[in-house]
C-alpha cells in the first residue's frame, strides 16, 4: 500500500497521549522542541459538554448506567475496555489475560483510580532483598527529584508518614475519612494493619489557576470536568498546547503501526493508519518516543521489522514483550451490621477511598516474597443499575425471610443502604521471563496490523500472597463484627487474571546489559539511540504500588535527557 508522506520533520514524534506520552509532550514542547503527538482514539476533553460524564444522574442514561458498552459502566471515562471491535488479541494455551485499552486523548488516565504512590527505595532493589527477579539500574534517589516535580506540578493529596518504603512527597492535605473508613481503620488497626490517608492525584487545594479545586462529587472515574484530578489530557496535553505556540501537532484517530527506519536502519519516524480514511501515512521525526502502553509499545516494536532489525526494533536481546507482569489482586466484600439503618448525608467525597493500608509486614517472615496494599470502598453511593438486586439477601445473616415484595422493599433497601465494605488487595508479583506477549502469527486487526498473543501464568508466589490477602480481610471484618459475603476458595484464592488490575508493565524492561534488557536507565533503546519508551514497559518490577506516578517521573526524567542529547547532537 502507498504510504502518504509529508515533508515536515518534527524533532520528536510521541505515540500515545496517556501519562507517559502526555508528560513527554509537556516537557519536550516546553523546551522548544517541535512535537507530533499521535493518539489512536478521538479528542477528549472532560469539560466538553458533549463528552462530559461527571455530575450526570443515573437516570440520564436509558440503562441507568449499566456497563453495556463500557465494562465499568456508562459514566466511566474510557473509550474501550477489555475488548475493542476489530482489534482482537490472542492467548497461548490456557493463558487468561485481560488487556484494557482506552482509545482517547489521555488514554487510561481518564478513568484510573488516581492512587498516586511513589516507589520506595526497596522497590528498585528487590533482587538484592529476596534474590528474585532483578534490580532496577536506578534507585529511589535518581527518581526522587522527578517525583517531587510531579507532586508540585500535578498535585497529590496525602500526608507525611515517615515510612521508609512509602516515601513522603509534596502533599496537598487529604480529606477526612468517611464512616465506613473509620470502621475499616478500627478493624485493621486491631489486626495490626497500618492505616493512613490515601495518596490521590486529586486537587484538594488550589495547585494553579488553570485547574479547579475538588468539590467532592466522587466522580474521578468519569474524568473531572473542572480538572481537579489528574488526567493527561487536562493536566499535560492542554497546557502543552497552550504553551507550544504551534510547535505541537496533535494527530487523533491515528493508529501507529510501526517505527520507520532509513536505508541504514536508523529510525526516522513512524507509520500510522488514519482511521478517517484508512490510509497509511508517515510522520518524519528525529526522535521517536513510544508511550502507547506497555503491551502496545512492545507490539509496535515487534512489528517494526526491517533488514536491520529482523526480530523487530530494539529486540536484538529477544526481550521485547518478555517479563510482562501485572499487579496481583484479590477482592472480598463484607456486610457490617453496625452500618445498617444509616442516617443519610452527602458522602461522595473524593473519587476513591480516603484511607488505605500500605504493605505493613516483613516478607522474610512470610511464605511469599512480595507485599500488597489494601484499598477499600463503601458508603452512601449513588444508586446505579444493579442497586437493590437481591435487595434483602442480607436478611439471611439474621435468619429472616429472604424475598417478597411490597412495602417491605423500601424499608429493607433503606435498612441495608451503605452497610457493606469492599476490600481489594493489590500486590507485587515476581517478574518472570516466561510471561510475555508476542506477535500472533495468524491474526491481524481491522487495520491490517498483526496482533498480540499473550502467554502468562501466575506462580505460587502470587497465589500465597492472595491467600494472605483473604486472611487479612477476614480478620479485619471479624474485628468489626461483620460477615463476609463470599469466599475465595480454590487453588487461586480469588487471584484475578493477569491484566485485570490494569497495571501491566515490564515488556521493554530497563537494564544496563543490552543482552537482558531493552532500554537503558533513560528508557532509551539499547539498539537505537533515538527511540525511547516512556510508558510502563521499562519497569523492571511493578511494586505493590500503582504505576502511574512512577511512569510520570520516569517520563519527565527521560524527556529532560532527550532535550540534552538533542542539544549535544548525540541523537
Amino acid at each position: 500500500m502507498e504510504i502518504i508522506k509529508n515533508d515536515k520533520t518534527y524533532d520528536v514524534v510521541i505515540v500515545g497521549s496517556g501519562a507517559g506520552g502526555g508528560m513527554a509532550t509537556k516537557i519536550l514542547t516546553d523546551n522548544g522542541l517541535t512535537v507530533a503527538l499521535m493518539e489512536a482514539g478521538p479528542f477528549f476533553d472532560p469539560a466538553n459538554p458533549d463528552q462530559q460524564l461527571h455530575l450526570k444522574w443515573p437516570y440520564e442514561s436509558p440503562r441507568r448506567g449499566r456497563g453495556s458498552t463500557r465494562a465499568f459502566g456508562d459514566y466511566h471515562a474510557s473509550y474501550g475496555d477489555w475488548s475493542l471491535d476489530g482489534e482482537p488479541y490472542k492467548m497461548k494455551e490456557d493463558t487468561k489475560f485481560s488487556w484494557w485499552r482506552s482509545r482517547m486523548l489521555g488514554g487510561r488516565t481518564n478513568h484510573w483510580g488516581r492512587i498516586s504512590l511513589r516507589f520506595g527505595p526497596n522497590d528498585f532493589k528487590r533482587k538484592s532483598i529476596d534474590g528474585l527477579g532483578d534490580d532496577w539500574p536506578i534507585g529511589y534517589d535518581d527518581l526522587k527529584p522527578y517525583y517531587d516535580k510531579v507532586d508540585k506540578y500535578i498535585g497529590v493529596s496525602g500526608s507525611k508518614e515517615n515510612i521508609y518504603n512509602e516515601p513522603d512527597g509534596f502533599f496537598l492535605p487529604p480529606a477526612k475519612p468517611r464512616l465506613h473508613e473509620l470502621y475499616y481503620k478500627k478493624g485493621a488497626e486491631k489486626a495490626g494493619v497500618k492505616v493512613m490517608p490515601s495518596r490521590l492525584s486529586i486537587v484538594t487545594k488550589r495547585i494553579n489557576n488553570e485547574r479547579g479545586v475538588c468539590y467532592y462529587c466522587g466522580n474521578c472515574g468519569r474524568s473531572c470536568g473542572v480538572y481537579a484530578d489528574f488526567s493527561a489530557s487536562s493536566c499535560l496535553v492542554f497546557p502543552a498546547q497552550r504553551n507550544a505556540q504551534g510547535r505541537l501537532d496533535l494527530y487523533v484517530n491515528s493508529m501507529v503501526r510501526e517505527v520507520a527506519v532509513d536505508k541504514n536502519g536508523k529510525p526516522n519516524g513512524i507509520i500510522y493508519i488514519n482511521k478517517e480514511d484508512n490510509k497509511e501515512y508517515r510522520i518524519n521525526a528525529k526522535v521517536v518516543v513510544l508511550a502507547a502502553s506497555a503491551c502496545e509499545s512492545a507490539r509496535i516494536l515487534l512489528n517494526s521489522k526491517s533488514t536491520y532489525h529482523e526480530n523487530g526494533l530494539g529486540n536484538s536481546s529477544n526481550m521485547v514483550g518478555k517479563y510482562l507482569h501485572d499487579s496481583t489482586g484479590a477482592d472480598r466484600m463484607a456486610f457490617i451490621p453496625d452500618l445498617m439503618n444509616r442516617k443519610t448525608y452527602n458522602e461522595d467525597g473524593l473519587g476513591n477511598m480516603h484511607l488505605y493500608s500500605p504493605w505493613w509486614l516483613d516478607n522474610k517472615k512470610l511464605d511469599f516474597p512480595r507485599g500488597y496494599h489494601i484499598e477499600i470502598a463503601g458508603g452512601l453511593g449513588a444508586p446505579m443499575y444493579g442497586f437493590g438486586f437481591d435487595y434483602n439477601s442480607l436478611n439471611k445473616f439474621f435468619g429472616l425471610e429472604v424475598g417478597g415484595y411490597g412495602d417491605r422493599v423500601r424499608e429493607e433497601v433503606k435498612k441495608y443502604y451503605g452497610s457493606t465494605i469492599y476490600f481489594a488487595g493489590r500486590g507485587e508479583s515476581v517478574p518472570n521471563v516466561n510471561n510475555y506477549c508476542e506477535i500472533d502469527p495468524d491474526t491481524k486487526d481491522k487495520y491490517g496490523i498483526p496482533v498480540l498473543r499473550f502467554n502468562y501464568k501466575w506462580s505460587d508466589y502470587e497465589r500465597k500472597q492472595a491467600k494472605h490477602m483473604n486472611e487479612t480481610f477476614e480478620k479485619i471484618v471479624h474485628n468489626i463484627g461483620g460477615h463476609m459475603l463470599w469466599d475465595n476458595e480454590g487453588p487461586n484464592y480469588g487471584l484475578k487474571n493477569p491484566g485485570e488490575i490494569i497495571h501491566e508493565v515490564g515488556t521493554t524492561r530497563m537494564g544496563s546489559d543490552p543482552k537482558t534488557s531493552v532500554v537503558n536507565e533513560f528508557e532509551q533503546l539499547h539498539d537505537a539511540k533515538n527511540v525511547f519508551v516512556v510508558d510502563g514497559g521499562p519497569f523492571v518490577s511493578q511494586a505493590d504500588k500503582n504505576p502511574t506516578w512512577t511512569i510520570l517521573a520516569l517520563s519527565w526524567r527521560t524527556s529532560e535527557y532527550i532535550v540534552q542529547e538533542l542539544k549535544k547532537q548525540n541523537i
Partner: protein
Amino acid sequence: MNRRDSIKTIVIGSLASGLVLEGCLPKEKEAIYKNIWKYKYGRTPEELQRDLELLNQVFFSKEEMNTIRVMANLIVPPTAEGTIEQAEVPEFIEFIVKDAPSYQEVLREGLQWMDATATEKFGNAFVNCSETERKSILDQVAFANGEKTKEEAFFATMRNLVITGYFSSEVGINDLGYKGNQPNIWDGVPGDVLEAHGMSYDKDWEAKFIDQSKRNDLAEWDEEGNLIT
C-alpha cells in the same frame, strides 16, 4: 463544525436517511428524536448510534407493558415519595431488554406464565385480576430459597429490575435519601453520626486533614515538603 454540531448531524442524518427509522410514523420519529436529546450523557458517536437503534425498536407489546406496570406497582407500591410511573420503570425495563437481550426470554415467558396462571385460577388475565388474586400468584414465586425454578427466576429478575429502576430514578433517589452528585465541601462525617457510631477523629490525626477554609489558597511548600499556605 464543532462536536455538538457533528453529533447532531449524525442523529439528523440517521433520521433523514430513514435507514434506522424505517417504518416509523412522523410522530414516532419526533418522539425518538426527543428521547435522544433527553438522554444526553457523553456518548461516543458509535454509542449514540447504538442507543438510537435500541430506542427505535419495540420489544414488549402494549399488553405486556401494562402487565409489567401492574406487577411493578405491586413490587414497589406507590407512596407520596414516588411511584413506578414517575420513576419510568416500565420504560427502563423496555429499554434494558433490548440493551441486554439475555433478559428477553426469561421476562417474556414469565409474563406468559403469569397470564396463563391467572386465567387458569381466576379466569382473567393478570391485570384484570383483583389485587388479592394478583398477590396470590406472585406469592407462589416471590420467596425462592436456594435453587430457583424458572418462574422464581423470572420473578427475581423482574424484582431486581423494578427495584433498581425505581431507586435509580429521580424520585427513587430522593426516596432513598442519596444526597450527593453535586458540588459541596466534604468536611467529615456529621458529628451526630460519629457519636451514634461511637467514632471520632483521632486528635493526632486531625492536623493531617484539609482545612477547608484554605482550599482556595495556592499551595506552597517549604523545601521539606511542609505545606505553608
